[in-house]
Amino acid sequence: MSRLIGEFSKGLWKENPLLVFVLGLCPALAVSSTAANGLGMGLASTFVLTSSNLVVSACRKVIPANVRIPAFIVIVATFVTVTDLVVQAFFPALSKSLGIFIPLIVANCIILGRAESFASKNSVVMAGMDGLGMGFGFTVALTVLAAIREILGSGTLFGSVLFGENYQPMLTMVLAPGAFIALGILLAIMNKINAMKKAK
Protein backbone atom coordinates (compact mmCIF):
# COMPACT_ATOMS: atom_id res chain seq x y z
CA MET A 1 0.00 0.00 0.00
CA SER A 2 2.76 2.40 0.90
CA ARG A 3 4.39 1.55 -2.40
CA LEU A 4 1.22 2.65 -4.17
CA ILE A 5 1.11 5.92 -2.26
CA GLY A 6 4.79 6.41 -3.03
CA GLU A 7 4.17 5.99 -6.77
CA PHE A 8 1.40 8.57 -6.53
CA SER A 9 3.13 11.14 -4.36
CA LYS A 10 6.46 11.23 -6.19
CA GLY A 11 4.75 13.09 -9.02
CA LEU A 12 3.68 15.86 -6.68
CA TRP A 13 7.10 17.13 -5.62
CA LYS A 14 10.21 14.95 -5.93
CA GLU A 15 9.53 14.02 -9.54
CA ASN A 16 7.13 16.79 -10.52
CA PRO A 17 6.97 16.52 -14.31
CA LEU A 18 6.85 20.25 -14.91
CA LEU A 19 9.13 21.60 -12.19
CA VAL A 20 11.67 18.77 -11.84
CA PHE A 21 11.68 16.92 -15.18
CA VAL A 22 10.81 20.20 -16.94
CA LEU A 23 8.49 18.40 -19.37
CA GLY A 24 5.24 19.61 -20.91
CA LEU A 25 6.55 23.16 -21.27
CA CYS A 26 4.61 23.94 -24.44
CA PRO A 27 1.11 23.65 -23.00
CA ALA A 28 2.31 24.88 -19.62
CA LEU A 29 3.59 28.17 -20.97
CA ALA A 30 0.81 28.68 -23.51
CA VAL A 31 -2.33 28.10 -21.45
CA SER A 32 -1.23 29.31 -18.03
CA SER A 33 -2.57 32.83 -18.58
CA THR A 34 -5.52 32.22 -16.29
CA ALA A 35 -5.81 29.88 -13.31
CA ALA A 36 -9.02 28.35 -14.67
CA ASN A 37 -7.30 27.46 -17.95
CA GLY A 38 -4.32 26.01 -16.10
CA LEU A 39 -6.58 23.87 -13.94
CA GLY A 40 -8.64 22.72 -16.92
CA MET A 41 -5.60 21.82 -18.97
CA GLY A 42 -4.04 20.01 -16.01
CA LEU A 43 -7.14 17.90 -15.41
CA ALA A 44 -7.52 17.06 -19.12
CA SER A 45 -3.86 16.03 -19.29
CA THR A 46 -4.23 13.97 -16.11
CA PHE A 47 -7.13 12.07 -17.65
CA VAL A 48 -5.16 11.33 -20.82
CA LEU A 49 -1.99 10.43 -18.91
CA THR A 50 -3.71 8.06 -16.49
CA SER A 51 -5.84 6.38 -19.18
CA SER A 52 -2.95 5.87 -21.55
CA ASN A 53 -0.70 4.60 -18.72
CA LEU A 54 -3.36 2.04 -17.79
CA VAL A 55 -3.84 0.82 -21.37
CA VAL A 56 -0.13 0.77 -22.21
CA SER A 57 0.61 -1.19 -19.06
CA ALA A 58 -2.23 -3.63 -19.75
CA CYS A 59 -0.86 -4.26 -23.26
CA ARG A 60 2.81 -4.21 -22.33
CA LYS A 61 3.30 -7.94 -22.85
CA VAL A 62 1.66 -8.08 -26.27
CA ILE A 63 3.08 -5.00 -28.00
CA PRO A 64 6.31 -5.94 -29.84
CA ALA A 65 9.18 -3.69 -28.81
CA ASN A 66 9.89 -2.38 -32.27
CA VAL A 67 6.38 -0.95 -32.83
CA ARG A 68 5.91 0.30 -29.31
CA ILE A 69 6.22 4.01 -30.14
CA PRO A 70 3.57 4.02 -32.91
CA ALA A 71 1.37 1.85 -30.71
CA PHE A 72 1.73 4.23 -27.72
CA ILE A 73 1.02 7.23 -29.92
CA VAL A 74 -2.17 5.72 -31.32
CA ILE A 75 -3.32 4.95 -27.78
CA VAL A 76 -2.49 8.46 -26.52
CA ALA A 77 -4.03 10.14 -29.57
CA THR A 78 -7.24 8.16 -29.10
CA PHE A 79 -7.63 9.36 -25.52
CA VAL A 80 -6.77 12.92 -26.53
CA THR A 81 -9.47 12.89 -29.20
CA VAL A 82 -11.97 11.48 -26.74
CA THR A 83 -11.08 14.25 -24.29
CA ASP A 84 -11.36 16.89 -27.02
CA LEU A 85 -14.82 15.73 -28.10
CA VAL A 86 -16.08 15.44 -24.52
CA VAL A 87 -14.81 18.92 -23.59
CA GLN A 88 -16.35 20.41 -26.73
CA ALA A 89 -19.67 18.75 -25.95
CA PHE A 90 -19.95 19.30 -22.19
CA PHE A 91 -17.55 22.14 -21.31
CA PRO A 92 -17.81 24.49 -24.31
CA ALA A 93 -16.44 27.52 -22.44
CA LEU A 94 -13.26 25.63 -21.54
CA SER A 95 -12.99 24.37 -25.10
CA LYS A 96 -13.10 27.93 -26.40
CA SER A 97 -10.41 29.21 -24.06
CA LEU A 98 -8.03 26.27 -24.44
CA GLY A 99 -8.57 26.07 -28.20
CA ILE A 100 -6.06 23.94 -30.06
CA PHE A 101 -4.13 23.13 -26.88
CA ILE A 102 -6.45 20.28 -26.04
CA PRO A 103 -5.63 18.35 -29.24
CA LEU A 104 -1.99 19.32 -28.62
CA ILE A 105 -1.99 17.27 -25.40
CA VAL A 106 -0.94 14.42 -27.69
CA ALA A 107 2.46 16.12 -28.10
CA ASN A 108 2.87 16.64 -24.35
CA CYS A 109 6.20 14.94 -23.59
CA ILE A 110 5.03 13.86 -20.16
CA ILE A 111 2.53 11.42 -21.62
CA LEU A 112 4.73 9.62 -24.12
CA GLY A 113 7.58 9.88 -21.63
CA ARG A 114 5.73 8.06 -18.84
CA ALA A 115 4.34 5.49 -21.28
CA GLU A 116 7.81 4.58 -22.46
CA SER A 117 9.77 4.87 -19.22
CA PHE A 118 7.23 3.59 -16.70
CA ALA A 119 3.92 2.23 -17.91
CA SER A 120 5.43 -0.21 -20.38
CA LYS A 121 7.57 -1.69 -17.61
CA ASN A 122 5.27 -1.84 -14.62
CA SER A 123 2.00 -3.33 -13.51
CA VAL A 124 -1.35 -1.78 -14.33
CA VAL A 125 -1.98 -0.61 -10.78
CA MET A 126 1.47 1.01 -10.48
CA ALA A 127 1.10 2.60 -13.89
CA GLY A 128 -2.26 4.00 -12.89
CA MET A 129 -0.88 5.52 -9.68
CA ASP A 130 2.08 6.94 -11.60
CA GLY A 131 -0.30 8.53 -14.11
CA LEU A 132 -2.48 10.03 -11.39
CA GLY A 133 0.49 11.32 -9.41
CA MET A 134 2.30 12.82 -12.38
CA GLY A 135 -0.98 14.26 -13.62
CA PHE A 136 -1.86 15.91 -10.32
CA GLY A 137 1.71 17.18 -9.91
CA PHE A 138 1.48 18.73 -13.35
CA THR A 139 -1.96 20.16 -12.57
CA VAL A 140 -0.88 21.73 -9.29
CA ALA A 141 2.31 23.21 -10.80
CA LEU A 142 0.38 24.52 -13.80
CA THR A 143 -2.39 26.03 -11.68
CA VAL A 144 0.11 27.76 -9.38
CA LEU A 145 2.00 29.13 -12.39
CA ALA A 146 -1.24 30.30 -13.98
CA ALA A 147 -2.51 31.84 -10.74
CA ILE A 148 0.68 33.91 -10.41
CA ARG A 149 0.40 35.09 -14.00
CA GLU A 150 -3.30 35.87 -13.68
CA ILE A 151 -2.95 37.81 -10.42
CA LEU A 152 -0.03 39.89 -11.65
CA GLY A 153 -1.10 40.18 -15.28
CA SER A 154 -4.88 40.74 -15.03
CA GLY A 155 -5.53 41.46 -11.40
CA THR A 156 -8.00 38.58 -11.16
CA LEU A 157 -7.98 35.00 -9.84
CA PHE A 158 -10.31 32.42 -11.38
CA GLY A 159 -12.10 35.37 -12.91
CA SER A 160 -12.79 37.27 -9.68
CA VAL A 161 -11.39 40.78 -9.63
CA LEU A 162 -8.98 41.13 -6.73
CA PHE A 163 -7.81 44.71 -6.75
CA GLY A 164 -9.52 48.07 -7.03
CA GLU A 165 -10.04 50.26 -10.07
CA ASN A 166 -6.58 51.78 -9.93
CA TYR A 167 -4.62 48.54 -10.21
CA GLN A 168 -2.50 48.59 -13.33
CA PRO A 169 -1.83 44.97 -14.25
CA MET A 170 1.61 43.85 -15.39
CA LEU A 171 0.49 42.96 -18.89
CA THR A 172 3.73 41.13 -19.75
CA MET A 173 2.77 38.40 -17.30
CA VAL A 174 -0.11 37.18 -19.45
CA LEU A 175 1.99 37.23 -22.59
CA ALA A 176 4.79 34.85 -23.64
CA PRO A 177 7.73 36.60 -21.93
CA GLY A 178 5.88 36.62 -18.62
CA ALA A 179 5.28 32.90 -18.91
CA PHE A 180 8.99 32.17 -19.18
CA ILE A 181 9.85 34.59 -16.39
CA ALA A 182 7.22 33.18 -14.02
CA LEU A 183 8.22 29.59 -14.76
CA GLY A 184 11.90 30.43 -14.28
CA ILE A 185 11.18 31.97 -10.89
CA LEU A 186 9.11 28.94 -9.85
CA LEU A 187 11.94 26.60 -10.88
CA ALA A 188 14.44 28.70 -8.94
CA ILE A 189 12.28 28.63 -5.80
CA MET A 190 11.81 24.86 -6.15
CA ASN A 191 15.54 24.27 -6.52
CA LYS A 192 16.31 26.50 -3.55
CA ILE A 193 13.85 24.65 -1.31
CA ASN A 194 15.27 21.30 -2.37
CA ALA A 195 18.83 22.48 -1.77
CA MET A 196 17.91 23.69 1.72
CA LYS A 197 16.22 20.36 2.46
CA LYS A 198 19.35 18.48 1.40
CA ALA A 199 21.57 20.67 3.57
CA LYS A 200 19.55 19.80 6.70
Binding site: I63, A77, T78, L85, A89, F90, P92, S154
Partner: protein, 197 residues
Amino acid sequence: MRDLANLVITMVVIAALSALALAQINEMTKGPIAENKKRELVAALKDVLPPFDNDPSAEIKEVVTGKDKKGKDVKTVFYLAKQGDQLTGTAFRSLNREGYAGDIWVLVGVDATGTISGIKIVDHKETPGLGDKYTKQSWYDLFKGKNLDNARIAVKKDGGDIDYVTGATITARAAATAVKDGLESFRKEFGNVQTDR
Protein backbone atom coordinates in the same frame (compact mmCIF):
# COMPACT_ATOMS: atom_id res chain seq x y z
CA MET B 1 8.29 -13.90 -40.75
CA ARG B 2 6.38 -14.61 -37.59
CA ASP B 3 7.73 -11.36 -36.10
CA LEU B 4 6.39 -9.41 -39.06
CA ALA B 5 2.98 -11.01 -38.70
CA ASN B 6 3.04 -10.18 -34.99
CA LEU B 7 3.83 -6.50 -35.71
CA VAL B 8 1.13 -6.15 -38.29
CA ILE B 9 -1.53 -7.92 -36.25
CA THR B 10 -0.75 -5.85 -33.14
CA MET B 11 -0.97 -2.54 -34.99
CA VAL B 12 -4.14 -3.56 -36.81
CA VAL B 13 -5.84 -4.60 -33.58
CA ILE B 14 -4.81 -1.41 -31.77
CA ALA B 15 -5.97 0.72 -34.70
CA ALA B 16 -9.27 -1.12 -34.93
CA LEU B 17 -10.01 -0.77 -31.21
CA SER B 18 -9.09 2.90 -31.37
CA ALA B 19 -11.37 3.48 -34.34
CA LEU B 20 -14.23 1.75 -32.55
CA ALA B 21 -13.78 3.81 -29.40
CA LEU B 22 -13.60 7.05 -31.36
CA ALA B 23 -16.67 6.24 -33.45
CA GLN B 24 -18.61 5.54 -30.27
CA ILE B 25 -17.57 8.75 -28.53
CA ASN B 26 -18.20 10.74 -31.70
CA GLU B 27 -21.78 9.46 -31.81
CA MET B 28 -22.34 10.39 -28.19
CA THR B 29 -20.91 13.91 -28.47
CA LYS B 30 -22.23 14.89 -31.93
CA GLY B 31 -25.56 16.07 -30.53
CA PRO B 32 -24.33 18.20 -27.62
CA ILE B 33 -21.61 19.78 -29.79
CA ALA B 34 -24.13 20.83 -32.45
CA GLU B 35 -26.47 22.12 -29.74
CA ASN B 36 -23.69 24.19 -28.19
CA LYS B 37 -22.87 25.78 -31.53
CA LYS B 38 -26.51 26.59 -32.14
CA ARG B 39 -26.96 28.02 -28.64
CA GLU B 40 -23.94 30.28 -29.16
CA LEU B 41 -25.29 31.49 -32.49
CA VAL B 42 -28.78 32.14 -31.13
CA ALA B 43 -27.37 34.12 -28.20
CA ALA B 44 -25.18 36.23 -30.50
CA LEU B 45 -28.09 36.88 -32.88
CA LYS B 46 -30.25 37.99 -29.97
CA ASP B 47 -27.56 40.49 -29.01
CA VAL B 48 -27.18 42.10 -32.43
CA LEU B 49 -30.64 41.97 -34.01
CA PRO B 50 -33.71 44.12 -33.39
CA PRO B 51 -36.58 42.28 -31.65
CA PHE B 52 -37.93 39.25 -33.48
CA ASP B 53 -40.32 36.37 -32.90
CA ASN B 54 -38.96 33.81 -35.35
CA ASP B 55 -35.74 31.77 -35.28
CA PRO B 56 -33.17 33.73 -37.28
CA SER B 57 -30.61 30.97 -36.92
CA ALA B 58 -32.92 28.78 -39.00
CA GLU B 59 -34.38 31.33 -41.41
CA ILE B 60 -31.47 32.28 -43.57
CA LYS B 61 -30.71 33.57 -47.04
CA GLU B 62 -27.43 32.54 -48.59
CA VAL B 63 -26.07 35.03 -51.12
CA VAL B 64 -22.96 34.97 -53.27
CA THR B 65 -21.21 38.18 -52.33
CA GLY B 66 -18.01 37.89 -54.30
CA LYS B 67 -15.23 35.62 -55.41
CA ASP B 68 -12.16 34.49 -53.53
CA LYS B 69 -8.59 34.39 -54.86
CA LYS B 70 -9.18 31.08 -56.60
CA GLY B 71 -12.28 32.35 -58.34
CA LYS B 72 -14.68 30.31 -56.22
CA ASP B 73 -17.90 31.92 -55.00
CA VAL B 74 -17.81 33.50 -51.57
CA LYS B 75 -21.18 33.07 -49.86
CA THR B 76 -22.55 35.15 -47.03
CA VAL B 77 -25.32 33.85 -44.83
CA PHE B 78 -27.95 36.43 -43.86
CA TYR B 79 -29.92 35.51 -40.75
CA LEU B 80 -33.44 36.92 -41.09
CA ALA B 81 -35.24 38.47 -38.14
CA LYS B 82 -39.00 38.78 -38.45
CA GLN B 83 -41.99 39.87 -36.49
CA GLY B 84 -44.93 38.05 -37.96
CA ASP B 85 -44.37 38.24 -41.70
CA GLN B 86 -42.50 41.50 -41.58
CA LEU B 87 -38.71 41.46 -41.98
CA THR B 88 -37.38 43.56 -39.10
CA GLY B 89 -33.70 43.06 -39.71
CA THR B 90 -30.92 40.73 -40.66
CA ALA B 91 -27.53 39.71 -39.33
CA PHE B 92 -24.46 38.53 -41.18
CA ARG B 93 -20.80 37.85 -40.51
CA SER B 94 -18.24 40.16 -41.99
CA LEU B 95 -14.53 39.40 -42.24
CA ASN B 96 -11.51 41.64 -42.15
CA ARG B 97 -8.15 40.02 -42.58
CA GLU B 98 -6.08 42.92 -41.30
CA GLY B 99 -6.31 42.37 -37.58
CA TYR B 100 -3.06 42.62 -35.64
CA ALA B 101 -2.80 38.83 -35.56
CA GLY B 102 -5.02 37.79 -38.44
CA ASP B 103 -8.70 37.42 -39.32
CA ILE B 104 -11.38 39.23 -37.37
CA TRP B 105 -15.01 38.16 -37.84
CA VAL B 106 -17.75 40.56 -36.81
CA LEU B 107 -21.42 39.62 -36.58
CA VAL B 108 -23.33 42.69 -37.77
CA GLY B 109 -27.04 43.13 -37.11
CA VAL B 110 -29.02 45.73 -39.02
CA ASP B 111 -32.65 46.72 -39.02
CA ALA B 112 -34.68 46.82 -42.20
CA THR B 113 -33.31 50.24 -43.15
CA GLY B 114 -29.71 49.10 -42.99
CA THR B 115 -29.00 50.86 -39.70
CA ILE B 116 -26.86 48.94 -37.23
CA SER B 117 -28.85 47.38 -34.40
CA GLY B 118 -25.82 45.72 -32.87
CA ILE B 119 -22.46 44.17 -33.56
CA LYS B 120 -20.37 41.48 -31.92
CA ILE B 121 -16.82 40.36 -32.58
CA VAL B 122 -17.26 36.61 -32.92
CA ASP B 123 -13.79 35.42 -33.83
CA HIS B 124 -10.34 36.91 -33.49
CA LYS B 125 -6.77 36.15 -32.51
CA GLU B 126 -5.91 39.55 -31.08
CA THR B 127 -3.61 40.11 -28.14
CA PRO B 128 -5.23 39.43 -24.79
CA GLY B 129 -5.40 42.58 -22.71
CA LEU B 130 -4.87 44.84 -25.73
CA GLY B 131 -6.75 43.90 -28.89
CA ASP B 132 -9.38 42.05 -26.97
CA LYS B 133 -10.36 45.25 -25.12
CA TYR B 134 -12.85 45.76 -27.93
CA THR B 135 -14.79 42.57 -27.29
CA LYS B 136 -16.95 44.50 -24.87
CA GLN B 137 -20.56 45.64 -25.11
CA SER B 138 -19.45 49.21 -24.41
CA TRP B 139 -17.45 49.26 -27.67
CA TYR B 140 -20.16 47.45 -29.62
CA ASP B 141 -22.68 50.07 -28.44
CA LEU B 142 -20.67 52.78 -30.23
CA PHE B 143 -21.93 51.33 -33.52
CA LYS B 144 -25.63 51.21 -32.65
CA GLY B 145 -27.81 53.48 -34.72
CA LYS B 146 -25.12 54.18 -37.28
CA ASN B 147 -25.41 53.47 -40.96
CA LEU B 148 -23.49 54.33 -44.10
CA ASP B 149 -25.30 57.66 -44.46
CA ASN B 150 -25.42 59.13 -40.97
CA ALA B 151 -21.92 58.30 -39.74
CA ARG B 152 -18.36 57.60 -40.75
CA ILE B 153 -17.72 54.02 -39.74
CA ALA B 154 -14.00 54.12 -39.10
CA VAL B 155 -11.76 54.79 -36.11
CA LYS B 156 -11.31 58.43 -35.14
CA LYS B 157 -7.67 58.25 -36.17
CA ASP B 158 -8.82 57.60 -39.74
CA GLY B 159 -11.36 60.42 -39.72
CA GLY B 160 -14.22 58.30 -38.47
CA ASP B 161 -16.53 58.40 -35.47
CA ILE B 162 -15.43 55.32 -33.57
CA ASP B 163 -13.33 55.53 -30.43
CA TYR B 164 -10.29 53.34 -30.05
CA VAL B 165 -7.64 52.57 -27.42
CA THR B 166 -4.16 53.96 -27.96
CA GLY B 167 -1.74 51.13 -28.60
CA ALA B 168 -4.49 48.92 -30.00
CA THR B 169 -5.54 50.85 -33.07
CA ILE B 170 -5.06 48.09 -35.61
CA THR B 171 -7.62 45.82 -34.02
CA ALA B 172 -10.22 48.57 -33.82
CA ARG B 173 -9.53 49.61 -37.38
CA ALA B 174 -9.91 46.05 -38.66
CA ALA B 175 -13.16 45.49 -36.77
CA ALA B 176 -14.62 48.83 -37.87
CA THR B 177 -13.66 48.12 -41.47
CA ALA B 178 -15.32 44.75 -41.23
CA VAL B 179 -18.52 46.47 -40.10
CA LYS B 180 -18.33 49.10 -42.86
CA ASP B 181 -17.64 46.52 -45.58
CA GLY B 182 -20.49 44.42 -44.23
CA LEU B 183 -22.89 47.33 -44.44
CA GLU B 184 -21.85 48.04 -48.01
CA SER B 185 -22.31 44.41 -48.90
CA PHE B 186 -25.74 44.43 -47.24
CA ARG B 187 -26.77 47.53 -49.18
CA LYS B 188 -25.75 45.89 -52.44
CA GLU B 189 -27.81 42.79 -51.71
CA PHE B 190 -30.85 44.19 -49.94
CA GLY B 191 -30.94 47.86 -50.86
CA ASN B 192 -32.81 49.87 -48.26
CA VAL B 193 -36.07 48.00 -48.68
CA GLN B 194 -38.48 47.47 -45.83
CA THR B 195 -40.38 44.52 -47.24
CA ASP B 196 -39.70 40.83 -47.25
CA ARG B 197 -37.48 39.46 -50.00
